[in-house]
């Protein structure tokens, strides 16, 4: 690979074995290929299977998007926000405002993401002063405050909410398929975005900030900047998810779009799958999606079981299911880290 660099081959110290550092391995190349094929297959689902497959896949893809975003925030940067539902709500309301303004609602998803990121900027100035549990509860307060503000604003329907305009022109089948593609795009963008960010220096810096902010700062990492970037990116992603939720339900109402359930899901998906890896949240999304399908008849028991799983995962397998598997088998499916090999 072109990025490979040889270290230690200068000959000054003959005892040092030359090694090759590379990002790509055979597994990583193969798996990246598999991922691309999977995305293509997912993209043609509306043509091949259509309606019945779209609804469950939308749920699964939304899970993947939410999990990847929360993982960027909590897993890589150590910011355990329980208030990402604030930006899901902001995204949903932004989509309504954009659609009410006559802009195509599907184009509005991007605007909703930008709106959420813009709103998160002043909020970050407040909440990023805190860390750990205090940061977590402060984000809860912010989400609660946003919900109250939305329900006190008559221009967006107050407590009763508003329905999303601009979708009447589409037929049911087309609308469903467009929402499906939009969800797929947001999920792919979330996973790929986190992948790209983590491959850059940001990935190392963020992990350093998460494990020891003081140490990171003293090694020249700009702690505030890393946290801010992660917070803005996660807020933007949540905004896009919120816009998708508004498109699916066609109705925006404070208690549902600001529901803390979204934050609960983000946490559980990532904890069960594995924090701080790219693959973990996807595994978590698949596992929780399967659990939800099988346990949905049990109502509240489902969340009790998943909560229990999350607690056990944190205590017994802090790197989640994916962490267990990758440690056991030495898997690393994506070219995110570095591999060091001795040259023959």
């Amino acid at each position: 690979m072109s990025r490979d660099t040889a270290i230690g081959s200068r000959g000054a110290q003959p005892s040092v074995t030359p090694v090759t550092v590379s990002r790509w391995s055979r597994t990583a190349s193969a798996f990246t290929g598999v991922c691309l094929v999977a995305v293509v297959i997912l993209a043609v689902v509306p043509y091949v299977i259509g309606g019945p497959a779209e609804q469950p896949l939308i749920t699964l893809l939304t899970f993947i998007a939410m999990a990847s975003q929360w993982n960027l925030l909590a897993g890589f940067s150590g910011l355990t926000s329980f208030g990402q539902n604030a930006y899901i709500g902001v995204g949903a309301y932004a989509l309504y405002l954009v659609a009410a303004g006559g802009i195509n609602p599907f184009a509005g998803i991007i605007l909703a993401a930008i709106a959420a990121a813009v709103v998160s900027l002043p909020v970050s100035a407040l909440v990023l002063r805190l860390s750990g549990g205090y940061f977590a509860v402060a984000t809860l307060v912010v989400a609660a405050t946003f919900q109250i503000i939305a329900s006190l604003s008559p221009s967006v329907g107050g407590t009763t909410g508003v329905s999303v305009p601009g979708l009447a022109g589409y037929g049911d089948v087309l609308r469903e398929a467009l929402i499906y593609w939009a969800t797929l795009a947001v999920a792919v963008a979330s996973v790929a975005g986190v992948c790209v960010l983590v491959r850059r220096t940001f990935g190392l810096d963020a992990r350093a900030v998460s494990s020891d902010p003081v140490g990171a700062a003293s090694s020249g990492v700009r702690v505030g900047r890393i946290r801010l970037l992660a917070y803005l990116a996660a807020a933007g992603g949540a905004g896009a998810v919120g816009a998708l939720i508004a498109l699916q339900t066609l109705y925006v109402e404070p208690t549902t779009v600001f529901s803390i359930q979204y934050s609960v899901y983000m946490l559980f998906l990532v904890l069960v799958g594995g924090m701080g890896t790219i693959e973990g949240p996807i595994v978590g999304a698949l596992v929780l999606f399967a659990l939800q399908e099988t346990l949905s008849a049990y109502g509240a028991w489902y969340l009790v079981i998943v909560g229990c799983l999350a607690v056990v995962a944190t205590l017994a397998a802090s790197r989640g299911l994916w962490g267990l598997a990758s440690e056991r088998f030495g898997w690393s499916l994506l070219p995110v880290g570095y591999r060091v090999r001795q040259e023959e």
Binding site: T80, L140, A300
Partner: protein, 299 residues
Amino acid sequence: MNWVNAVIQGMLLGGQYALIACGLSLMFGVMRIVNIAHGDLAVCGAYLGLVLSSALGVPVWVTLPLLLPAAFLAGMALQVLLFGRALRHGVLAPVLVTFGLSVMIENLLQVAATSDPRGLNGGALALASFHIGSGITVSWLFLTAFLTACTVLSCLQLLLSRTSWGRKVRATADDVDTARLVGIRVRPVFATVAGIAVATAALAGVFIGTIGTFDPLAGTNTLIFAFEAVVIGGIGSLWGTLVGGVALGVTQVVVGEINQAYAVLAVNLLFLAVLTVRPGGLFTSRQAVRELQGLGAPG
């Protein structure tokens, strides 16, 4: 006269917030755990009070000698089984574990007790009140809650500053490793602190349930109020927590006097304003602020 009344009612309400918050403050001060399930544990206390008082057919106050020790033991068990283990997995694990616990409690309560709002039987005390001057009526129940909060805070302060247990707690809070070195058995200290925190939460839950109603999902809002009281008052300062609670209560009632819809919003904005101007709260040490920002070096 309305305003004086609002301030008095607000102060009394603030006592309840301080009563919920003191356990949260204590657990953070000693173990560096922000217990996300604290509000839910208070709601559990209220449900336990409901079960006991309806089973025995007595006002909920009579059940306190049963309820508080049970809550204390539950707190110790939680510390040994969950919080203590979580502490060994770094700084984020306790946050995640207590959040998971919170979701479990809320949903278990929904399964066990349905989502209907409940209230507790407070006996004659719940309805009694007296007058000051012409326009001010003070409910004995609110006054009792406020005085209980003051008593609990005073007792905690005395325990911490005057007893050998308190010395151990303070030493452990300062530096766990050094405390171990000088022969303090840290785990029993942590267990008793968690026990006290959960018992005070349960006591607060009983007052919440007697004064108003509660449902399985009431814990999150309870946590938010308690947390705001702790941060406004200043991390790790018990009397600060009382001041924080009173500030919240007065804001809520006074703004509610103008427009009820804005009462909770005003409380949240007060919290965010304090966070902007004085992130460490009103009464706090610089060390506490550094730890709050994740820059300190907790033991």
